[in-house]
């Protein structure tokens, strides 16, 4: 009994000693700042910064390859902390949220053919731009949902993607994943949005989808001067620099493509808190 105990303990001690020496001899020199930054970052490894993960990004910040505010996910507090670790300062940035500029589900949008194949928007988009009659519409096969590391994209029962603002970190992965370029990052406090990307003339847009922006300019004309919603190329745009905030604006829209998603809206639809 005694002999095996001693032998095993001896082997253990020897190996431990070997490992301890090896750790000293072959130690990899890392910048302690890199570890501190990694510690501070959210640790989701979402890739929103363009690097392979939080550790990789931290290394890039230390080397000076990445800007300290390059993490789109973390809050202002963390950005400041990261910047202070490398001795820099960052400017304050308004929090953003992703927004899907289409609400043309199967109940309102026409289809031009029956799609049968890989359940991926990018595959469907290769076939004449997808099965939606609207050339710009959401294909509803969930490429953005798969790209989101935070579970912030849900598919509505009618088959369009929708962002859950409370979970969205504005990392931008969905923006890159959408083959129809339907997703934009907008200021989180904005309340009025144009949820359409169709540039067709009114009749054509209407034929393809009941909730398309027709480019009628009712919203634009409601401003006496200096319109904060402008129509260009038959599609309305919000001027997010001076975003409008009047729930009554949405009621002007004949198709419902202009929506109010502020505090007064039902909880499920809010984009701003």
């Amino acid at each position: 009994m005694l002999v095996p105990t001693v032998v095993l303990s001896g082997i253990g001690l020897l190996s431990g000693l070997g490992l301890a020496l090896a750790a000293r001899a072959f130690a990899v020199e890392t910048d302690p700042r890199q570890d501190r930054i990694t510690e501070a970052l959210p640790g989701a490894n979402c890739g929103g910064c363009g690097y392979a993960g939080c550790g990789d990004f931290a290394g890039a910040v230390v080397r000076g390859d990445a800007k300290p505010d390059g993490c789109p996910v973390c809050d202002q507090e963390t950005r400041r902390l990261v910047a202070s670790i490398v001795g820099l300062t960052v400017q304050d940035r308004a929090p953003q949220v992703a927004l899907i500029l289409c609400q043309g589900g199967d109940d309102v949008a026409a289809k031009k053919y029956r799609y049968n194949g890989l359940a991926s928007c990018a595959s469907a988009a290769l076939l004449g731009g997808g099965d939606k009659a609207c050339g710009a519409g959401c294909l509803g096969l969930g490429d953005c949902q798969r790209a989101c590391a935070f579970g912030a994209v849900e598919m509505t029962p009618s088959g369009v993607a929708r962002i859950i603002p409370a979970r969205c970190t504005a990392c931008g992965q969905c923006v890159a994943a959408c083959p129809k370029d339907l997703i934009k990052l907008v200021p989180a406090e904005a309340t009025i949005h144009v949820l359409c990307s169709n540039h067709d003339r009114g009749p054509a847009a209407k034929k393809a989808c009941a909730v398309a922006c027709l480019g009628c300019k009712k919203c634009e004309k409601s401003f006496a001067e200096d319109p904060r919603i402008k129509v260009a190329d038959f599609l309305a745009y919000i001027d997010y620099e001076h975003a409008p905030d009047d729930p009554a604006l949405a009621a002007l829209c004949p198709t419902g493509s202009l929506v109010y998603r502020g505090a007064a809206a039902p909880a499920a639809e809010r984009t701003s808190s």
């Binding site: 049968n116 890989l118 290769l126 731009g129």
Partner: protein
């Protein structure tokens, strides 16, 4: 020589006995500016302009670009993005016919090709907007201009027509045999090659006999009857079957000293030079169980699909799918307002019960697709990888060598949408390669600035 893989679909060449019939003049034509692979031309006409038949509607921009021409005389109704057989609306010129079919005065026939030098022939072929009529619509003058370092010694003439249903090339070989062979001679002169080799599938021995009879004494052509097997008409497989040369992965036929041209293209080249006639018409097979009167039609480019179908007695009520091209590689149409274009070798109307949408099942690893793939790829593994969105692995499986012939999907007992996966995979893999190239460039530039600093 026989290539490995390939399949034997039901050929349905029921229209092989039907003479080519010229389609009557229509009231309206829609001529897309982009009907070829390469840069679309610059539009030369505007709304309200009067145009004559064969008048150019666009001019080429650059070398890999060809013009399109008016199919008849009339008035330009609009120049706008209109439905295109490839799926997305594209810039097109709509012409309302005036019924006169007045020819353009600017036609410049060059006469006998035997007395002309290759450069003049090439110019005439580009000016006439000649593209490969086999379906890929690559500008013919580009194929006929191999760079000096590529030694081309063989012109391969593609009369395989391996797609089921289609008989347009077959009829051209029978009815225009003399013109095909003159065209072959012309292309040999442009390329400066000593011989041509005409490959025809064994189900068309009459076409081979007709061409052999019509071959002029000064055209050194060989005629080979090939095994009837899909995709015999794929240029890589045709070259291997005829002369045993293998086009390297990612390479072109000219890498092994060959240039491949379709029989219809040969006729178009001859007409472009001899008569100065631009390519404004082609022969297309209108067939399938859901068309009332199948035809081999000489149809003007830009003829709206609905008018062509109406001329063929219309479609039956149980029509399920209309395809431009053949059933293996053709493109299904969802808009009946599209025009027939230079690359439309046929219009196939399938019944509802023939155009079944299969729900693809899981891969059962039977390996049938591996046996069927004429490129020697492993479609089963590639399909599984694509299905999991692991596109960066597809490069190791040589996805870019896939010719999208559909043999794998045809034999798959699990009805997997393999070709669709590979089309996506090819697009994604090209993006990955482009990204890597850009990254290498960026890194090199950064290293350079670091070195100088």
């Amino acid at each position: 020589m026989k290539f490995s893989g390939g399949v034997h679909p039901a050929y349905h060449k029921d229209t092989a006995g039907l003479q080519i019939e010229a389609m009557p003049l229509l009231h309206r034509y829609v001529v897309p500016i982009a009907q070829h692979l390469g840069a679309p031309g610059k539009v030369l006409v505007a709304k309200g302009d009067r145009v004559a038949r064969w008048q150019p509607l666009s001019e080429p921009v650059g070398f890999v670009s060809v013009p399109v021409h008016a199919p008849t005389s009339g008035t330009v109704k609009q120049v706008a993005a209109l439905p295109h057989p490839l799926g997305r609306p594209m810039l097109a010129v709509e012409i309302e016919s005036d019924g006169e079919d007045r020819p353009w005065e600017g036609l410049a026939p060059l006469g006998d090709w035997r007395s002309l030098d290759p450069a003049a022939l090439r110019r005439a072929i580009q000016a006439a907007g000649v593209v490969g009529l086999g379906g890929a619509t690559f500008p013919t003058h580009v194929k006929l201009s191999p760079p000096a370092e590529k030694k081309v010694d063989l012109l391969v003439i593609n009369g395989a027509e391996c797609e089921p249903y289609l008989t347009a090339d077959h009829r051209v070989m029978l009815e225009q045999a003399a013109e095909v062979m003159e065209g072959v001679g012309l292309m040999m002169r442009v390329l400066g090659v000593p011989r041509a080799c005409v490959g025809i599938e064994s189900n068309k021995p009459d076409a081979l006999a007709a061409l052999r009879r019509a071959c002029p004494a000064d055209v050194a052509a060989e005629f080979v009857l090939l095994e009837t097997k899909y995709p015999q008409g794929s240029e890589k497989h045709l070259i291997y079957a005829l002369c045993g040369r293998r086009v390297p992965p990612g390479g072109l036929p000219m890498d092994v000293g060959c240039v491949v041209q379709n029989v219809g293209t040969a006729v178009a080249c001859l007409e472009a030079v001899r008569d100065g006639l631009p390519m404004t018409e082609r022969v297309a097979t209108v067939t399938g169980a859901a068309i009332n009167v199948p035809h081999n039609l000489r149809v003007r480019v830009g003829a709206p699909l609905l008018d062509v179908l109406a001329h063929c007695g219309g479609v039956t009520p149980d029509v399920g799918k209309v395809i431009f091209g053949g059933p293996m590689m053709g493109i299904g149409q969802f808009d009946m307002d599209v025009p027939l274009i230079k690359g439309t070798s046929g219009v196939l109307c399938l019944r509802d019960d023939e155009a079944v949408l299969y729900e693809g099942g899981p891969c059962i690893r039977c390996g049938a697709c591996v046996d069927a793939c004429p490129m020697g790829l492993v479609p089963s593994a590639m399909g599984l990888i694509a299905e999991r969105f692991r596109f960066e692995e597809l490069g190791d499986w040589h996805v870019l060598d896939c010719i999208e012939c559909g043999s794998c999907a045809y034999v798959c007992p699990s009805r997997r949408p393999l070709v669709q996966h590979f089309k996506r995979g090819k697009a994604e893999w090209r993006d990955i390669l482009e990204e890597r190239r850009a990254k290498t460039e960026r890194d090199a530039k950064r290293a350079e600035t670091a070195a100088t600093a």
